[in-house]
Amino acid sequence: MELSTSEPTTARFDALYRETASDVFAYVLTLLRDRAAAEDVTAAAFERAYRRQRSFDAGRGTQRAWIFGIARNAALDELRRRRRTATLLADPEDASAAGRGDHDDDALRRAAVRVALAHLDPRERELIALKFHAGLSNAEIAKVLGVSESNAGTRVHRAVTRLRKACHAPS
């Protein structure tokens, strides 16, 4: 199959990709809870961002907020598509989490965190991913979600509070 390159990769986009690829994947997987779909959506989000580089407006937010906004839309579109075709009956186990010292306290605590995360509301889980995994500021989260910064802060606070309660709740 013959391939053609539409345009050269810009240095700025390459830097953005290097900086955020893993974070975007983690965020998308948090939303989709399906590794294969998360890979596809992550690739699609970066491709979409690559083709729309000229639409980025620094006055409307940071590059990180921009790429996470694109990834969010792509992930939600994927959720809609999957809802039309099939229902995900169960979350697949994260293979990377298995076999990490099941008997020490840290492992138990982290397992409790994973369970707590799984039981969070999808919107709260998304906020945890954006805050903890992607490291976005509240202003950036506000841009991604399309809400005000104070609203984003309130939501983050609520999600963290719920997560802490869930982690300390008796299993």
Partner: protein, 414 residues
Amino acid sequence: MRPRDALPDPDVQHDLRELEAALGGEPTADPDLAGLVADVEAARPAPDAAFLASLDARVRAGFPTERATPPREPEPWHVRIRRPRILLPAAGLALAAGLAAVVVALPGSTRDLGSSSSTLSAELGGGKDSAGAAGGSSSSSSSASSRPKTTAPSAQPALATGSPSPAGGPSTTPALPTIPPSTTATDRKVQRAAELTLTPQADDVQDVTDGVVRETQAAGGYVQRSEIATEDGGGTASLTLRVPTARLDAVLGRLSQLAHVGALTQASTDITATTVSAADRLADARDERRALLRALGRATSDRQIASLKARLRDNRSQIAARKGALDAVRRRADLATVGVSVQGTDRPSGDKGGGAWTPRDALHDAGRVLEVAGGVALIALAVLAPLAVVAALAWLAARGLRRRRRETALDRTA
């Protein structure tokens, strides 16, 4: 109730600051929160190395597209019609072009732009078949010439051969309504009349009036009535002409070349029945005279002779009267009545209708072109603006709906 965009309360702000400190790995951060950050970070899913390598390659290649994709089949019409992005501009352009064509085609929109010659002709229907016993029929036609200079000479070949005007020359041939000879049969009688309004410049009223009289006499006619009122810098004249009906069209053509034609109206009436009736009554009277003369030859008594002579005198008077009536009817058919009104105007000389196409005319025409183009653009805008508003509203609605559906999709994963 707290406003939607108000700052979080102090406790929340404090907790958020603590969270930021824990996320930043500051030593002063809450140990419990720092532990949570570490645990969540440990639960962070990591992409496969193979996936990252594949994505790296695609990024380096600039997300190449497949060129080997087979050419797309032409889409059926019902698929293409679902693409308003493609069809909307085309429909808008077609609509604007249609409107432009309609506007340009409107009679009033181009009345000063191009030639506006018109030749009206009216056939005398009654002159052919229907006049007969009904006593005749009439028809009329009229025209008001605004720019006679644009009349094509070939449009009125019979009228274009006139003498130049004494006023200097409108070398124009206005569009004259012509009425063809009323009948094909030579024995039919038609009475014709015309009303002509000439509007020369105010200073030329007298010259034009003289020209009217001259042309009338040259055609074998005469001026039945004239009324001329001249004043300083202008004036009016009103004349009633009688010209041979056979030369009416030629006379009108020559008169029309004397000055700008403001209006021209022609009318014709079939008077065959009236003529025949008058002739019949005259024949009856003559038959009666012959009968009276025969009776007079056979009369034997003085009383009979006296009575017949008295009746012959009456009959003679009757014949004379009826002969006069017949002659009058025939004169009506032989001589057409032309009413000419000469009205001086103060129109600028450039608008006389004659002369060469000057830069001033070009400027005027260019202004008109821009005027019409602006009108067309305004109409197109009036049509397209609501469409654009509707399209914008539809786009906003679609955007909002898509966003709502995305958010709903996230909620349904709970």
